[in-house]
């Protein structure tokens, strides 16, 4: 989940009777599972919510390159280095898809990126955690991409066509990375030394809870969910997706021979789901507000890249103009 708290600006759902004819036609289309396309009429709040959500998602791909970029120069074998480079490259590509999908809604890429850099726009809280060991590369691939996939698989059916199609393309690559991340951990656990095994468990201990937070606040504290669900931007609630993620991840955790840092984690036969402990919501909101361990560093790095690269972009524009003039002459 790369967009975990998106304002809809809507306090209360309207009934069909309260809607204008346009709104009503729109909602009926949504209810009939017909995709909304860029040129179709849509309520302004729907458009703005999607711009916020897709841009958050795109920003997350871009900021998400940094925790992995931290280890790309230190990857321990040629194979692992190549895998990580391919993954980072895919993430930049996902960012580009998503910015394009967002632009079909009339938003401007540079303006939205400026909002990210000024702290106005959000990105996933997970990328504010540091990557401290090589095992974090596996844990990020497995847990973080795993959580993202659970969310994105559902978003393949989201009501806005361009977003839905971006998700279909992105999910294919993302699943590949997730398997690689898991395989990386499995290799360390099965063939590694005790020091490597400890490294894996330590990475899981640090990234487990932050990964669960990727699904956003619990449903009772998720005021925007009802509208997003009615518009079928969201297809399942935060808590439903989080539960699904836990249910599918625990067996993988066991196969690794590792444990979760959650004494309350236990299979509940009656529910047919795993029970789990309380998420530290205080920490979640602090990280989202900008007070996590790496928020400052992440934003500073992105700002520096774009501000420091302005002369390069200006040069490209100036050169293109000169070439155009030459061709015209």
């Amino acid at each position: 989940m790369y967009a975990q708290l998106v304002e809809t600006g809507v306090k209360r759902l309207k009934s069909l009777e309260e809607m204008s004819p346009e709104e009503r036609a729109f909602q009926e289309k949504i209810d009939a599972e017909i995709k909304i396309e860029a040129k179709n009429w849509m309520p302004d709040a729907y458009r703005q919510t999607l711009i916020r959500q897709i841009s958050q998602h795109a920003h997350s791909e871009i900021v998400g390159m940094l925790p992995e970029g931290n280890w790309v120069t230190r990857a321990p074998s040629l194979k692992r280095k190549l895998q990580l480079m391919a993954k980072i490259q895919d993430e930049a590509g996902h960012g580009l898809y998503l910015y394009s999908a967002m632009e079909t809604l009339g938003a401007d890429r540079d303006e939205e990126i400026a909002k990210l850099h000024s702290g106005k726009a959000k990105y996933s809280s997970i990328f504010n955690y540091p990557t401290l060991t090589w095992a974090d590369m596996g844990a990020v691939g497995w847990l973080v991409d795993g959580a993202a996939i659970v969310n994105q698989v559902v978003l393949q059916r989201t009501s806005y066509g361009p977003y839905s199609r971006a998700m279909i393309r992105i999910c294919k690559e993302e699943s590949f990375h997730q398997r690689q991340g898991y395989e990386l951990l499995l290799t360390m656990m099965r063939h590694g030394t005790q020091a490597q095994k400890d490294m894996v468990q330590d990475a899981i201990n640090r990234l487990w809870w932050p990964s669960l937070m990727m699904f956003g606040p619990s449903d009772e504290h998720s005021p925007n969910s009802a509208q997003s669900m009615a518009w079928k931007i969201k297809r399942q609630t935060n808590d439903e997706l989080r539960q699904r993620f836990i249910d599918q991840t625990v067996p993988q955790l066991e196969l690794l021979g590792c444990t979760a840092p959650d004494p309350a984690l236990k299979w509940n036969e009656a529910r047919g789901h795993y029970d789990f402990g309380q998420i530290q919501w205080q920490e979640f909101y602090e990280v989202l507000k900008g007070n996590g361990p790496c928020n400052q560093e992440r934003l500073a790095k992105r700002r520096n890249a774009i501000e420091g690269g302005a002369w390069v972009r200006e040069a490209a524009v100036a050169y293109a103009r000169k070439q155009q003039n030459k061709n015209a002459a």
Binding site: I62, M65, L66, E68, G69, V72, T73, R74, A75, P76, S77, L78, K79, R80, K81, L82, M85, A86, I88, Q89, A92, G93, G95, L96, Y99, W134, L184, T187, M188, H191, G192, T193, A195, Q196, K301, R302, N304, A305, I306, G308, G309, A310, W311, V312, R313, E314, A315, A316, A318, Y319, A320, K322
Partner: protein, 252 residues
């Protein structure tokens, strides 16, 4: 058998691609545009992949129990055979792009020659790499043009980058005895031809945007082919090799 001559040549090709790829990794998250994040990582990925192919072959010929990873991650700087050019720090985008272009022009000419090698393994690796490097060369050349004939500032930065890197280009037109020997045997690319092609590519591109072409670089005190590197390589390797060195028994 040209084995004894071939090993240092494979290391020259493999190490140069690896170190250039490593430098590109350092750009992650710092590129001037998203498209460039993608492109820099893409070029780096190609180069590290090529390095793996050359180093695997070198390891087989060495036949001393080391594999490509051991060659990449357990050799000290005195044993590395890369060109001095590629170990230079990234600097700003102008330095990075000029460095990439000067290397690509050499790399492209060398691979063209290697495609005709009578060593089928070399010809195979080179043919695959040539497709990738054709793209690298086009891209880096275009950036040298854009920056060289873009704004006043970008031109100034490109002009500053030239003297910084030029002295190392002496290695691109030079050759060791074993390279001459390998070329004569039809195994390696002809270093004289590679040097002339490099010269032609660089002078044509510089002329296209009126960048002053310096005199041919003359002898430089150090020599990457002999493992006599600048001070930059040691630090680069310390970072790159840290994990396999710290955990010598580990399986990654």
């Amino acid at each position: 058998m040209h084995k004894q001559a071939l090993i240092p040549y494979l290391l020259l090709l493999g190490d140069s691609a690896l170190i250039q790829g490593q430098r590109l990794c350092e750009w992650c998250g710092k590129a001037p545009a998203l498209e460039e994040e993608l492109a820099l990582m893409n070029v780096g990925l190609d180069l590290v992949g090529q390095a793996r192919n050359w180093l695997e072959y070198a390891a087989e010929l060495l036949d001393d129990g080391r594999d490509a990873d051991a060659l990449a991650f357990r050799r000290d700087e005195r044993a590395f055979r890369n060109l001095l050019l590629v170990e230079q720090p990234n600097g700003d985008f102008a330095v990075t792009m000029l460095k990439q272009f000067l290397y690509d022009a050499w790399h492209h000419a060398a691979l063209e020659g290697l495609c005709a090698s009578n060593d089928a393994r070399i010809a195979g690796i080179a043919a695959k790499a040539l497709k990738e490097v054709t793209y690298h060369l086009r891209r880096s050349g275009e950036w040298v043009q854009r920056l060289g004939d873009g704004t006043e500032q970008s031109r100034r930065r490109m002009l500053d980058a030239i003297p910084l890197l030029w002295r190392f280009t002496v290695e691109l037109t030079a050759a060791s005895d074993h390279e001459v020997q390998l070329a004569a045997a039809g195994v390696g690319a002809d270093p004289a031809l590679v040097g002339r092609r490099w010269q032609a590519t660089v002078s044509a591109l510089f002329a296209s945007v009126e960048l002053p072409l310096p005199q041919a670089a003359s002898h430089f005190y150090l020599d990457g082919r002999q493992g006599l590197h600048t001070e930059h390589l040691g630090l680069l390797l310390a970072e790159m090799q840290f994990l396999p060195r710290a955990y010598p028994d580990a399986t990654w």
